[in-house]
């Protein structure tokens, strides 16, 4: 597993920033679903690539790693498992040679009548039944794509009651039984803790940090008495505290990524974004080794 250092989440609005300040980031994380149009299951071809976006990513991928972080799998959907999506990610692996890939521990597809896509990652029920289903599906993903597959802890604003397991236990068991890794989104964790009145520094210790391959950092906003995972600006200080806390405790860590929705870039501004990435690089340097660039890292893969 190469240690890539500090990454940034790709958004089309960030293209000039990515090119101009290419020393501020070590690798690029891409939500692949925004670089294609998914026409739906069974359509041929189902996935139509955005040629302009793909060309940009391909250009960057010549000397940086590009790591996909998909939103489309809906691995927690009980009514179907989207094997075509897995095949599409396998095609992306052939194209980009990514060192790992990830998706969310959630579902957004359900079938009340026709299939709906609720446009938001909903929390899976942390029950044995869901665990069995997801373990099996992770196995399929791993058999199809040879590099590590990670699932991200979800953010949520409501929670089912009386679940068999809590989230850290569910994720630890999922990682142990399926062989997947954990993408620990520190902002998601912070958001959930803040809304539930929990101490994130204590909660983070309950996760299986040995399984963490990637960390996410982001910012949010207040809304109707809740704090939202809005990816709308700089990360709050407690998220940086969490970063400092966990960086030395994750032996399998490959990278830490800053997420910002492109529509907030102008509001946040170039300088503030550079400061975020700079702080993350400083934190990485305090606790980790020198980031690997693509040509060096590939020799050790």
């Amino acid at each position: 597993m190469p240690a890539l250092g500090v990454g940034i989440g790709y958004q089309a609005q960030l293209r000039p920033f990515l090119e101009r300040f290419d020393e501020d980031w070590d690798f690029l994380e891409v939500v692949p679903d925004i670089l294609w149009n998914d026409r739906g299951p069974g359509r041929k071809p189902r996935y139509l690539p955005d040629p302009e976006g793909a060309a940009f990513i391909e250009g960057l991928a010549r000397d940086r790693f590009v790591v996909p972080h998909s939103i489309g799998l809906s691995i927690g959907s009980a009514h179907r498992f989207d094997r075509e999506h897995v095949l599409q990610m396998a095609r992306w692996h052939e194209w980009l040679g990514y060192p790992w890939h990830s998706d969310h521990l959630s579902f957004h597809l359900a079938r009340p009548a026709a299939e709906w896509n609720v446009n938001l990652t909903l929390p899976v029920t942390l029950d044995r039944e869901a665990l069995e289903m997801i373990v099996e599906r992770v196995g399929e993903v791993r058999r199809r794509i040879s590099v590590p597959f990670l699932l991200e802890n979800n953010v949520y604003y409501f929670a089912p009651t009386g679940q068999d397991l809590d989230e850290p236990t569910f994720l630890a068991e999922l990682c142990r039984r399926s062989g997947c890794g954990l993408l620990l989104d520190l902002h998601n964790l912070y958001v959930n803790c803040r809304n539930l009145g929990l101490d994130p520094r204590r909660e983070v210790e309950r996760y299986d940090l040995d399984s963490v391959v990637e960390l996410h950092v982001a910012g949010g906003m207040e809304f109707r008495g809740f704090y939202l995972d809005a990816h709308s600006g700089p990360a709050p200080e407690p998220v940086f505290d969490l970063l400092d806390q966990v960086l030395p405790l994750c032996p399998s860590l490959g990278g830490v990524v800053f997420e910002l929705f492109g529509s907030w870039y102008d509001t946040m501004g170039e300088d503030a974004l550079r400061r975020q990435l700079g702080r993350m690089k400083e934190a990485w340097a305090r606790h980790r080794s020198v980031p690997a660039r693509r040509h060096h890292a590939e020799a050790s893969l």
Partner: protein
């Protein structure tokens, strides 16, 4: 089957306002069958959590964002209040089915132009134009650009469009049936122009009378 049913009902709770209200008002009788006792209890408990409304608002904001980004001229013409009314009416009959703006916004355009709504001429013109621009930007299976779009206008585009492009509603009304031609340029941008007054359409191609860059190109 039970987990499928639970997820279907949860999706309705977050994305179907009428269902959410029925569950809050009538409790378990509003839920579908085939759920375990624990799942029913969970859904009822979730229906009462304030975070459910926040989640529903987030979903609506994602859906609204696609409309606002894709239909800037329609937004200006309708105004915020009327647009909000139309969007809410659309959501009542159209649950979310896709991440992608082209699918969502295309369906919303159809909603705006439904015959029973009797859209006024200027709205039909502007929605027709923005729907055509959306079609031009849509990725295609053969990888080739979409064919040029021909949009019939009832109003005079030179009266209707410049104020909308400047973020203002036009005043008065000026009829001029004509055809607007929109096409994708080699560099990916989109240009549109008034190709001909409609009464001339049987003649050989008329020269352009007006050309404006598309604000969304």
């Amino acid at each position: 089957m039970s987990l499928r049913g639970y997820q279907a009902e949860l999706a309705r709770l977050v994305a179907e306002p009428g269902f959410r209200e029925r569950v809050r008002a009538r409790g378990g009788t509003a839920l579908g069958g085939g759920l375990t006792r624990r799942e029913r209890a969970r859904l009822l408990e979730i229906a009462g959590q304030p975070g459910l409304a926040v989640t529903a608002t987030l979903i609506e904001s994602f859906r609204l964002g696609k409309v606002l980004q894709s239909l800037p001229l329609t937004r200006t013409l309708l105004g915020e209040r009327q647009l909000a009314r139309e969007v809410r009416a659309f959501w009542r009959s159209h649950p979310p089915v896709s991440f992608y703006a082209a699918d969502e916004v295309g369906a919303f355009c159809k909603h705006l132009l439904r015959p029973d709504a009797a859209p006024r001429d200027s709205l039909a013109d502007v929605v027709g134009l923005e729907r055509a621009l959306l079609e031009l930007r849509r990725l295609r299976p053969d990888g080739r650009p979409a064919a040029p779009q021909r949009i019939p206008f009832r109003c005079d585009p030179s009266w209707l469009l410049p104020p909308l492009l400047a973020g203002r509603r036009p005043t008065g009304r000026r009829s001029m049936p004509c055809l607007v031609l929109a096409e994708r340029e080699a560099g990916g941008g989109i240009k549109w122009l008034v190709a001909a007054r409609r009464r001339r359409m049987t003649r050989p191609a008329a020269p352009p009378t007006r050309e404006d860059p598309c604000p969304a190109s």
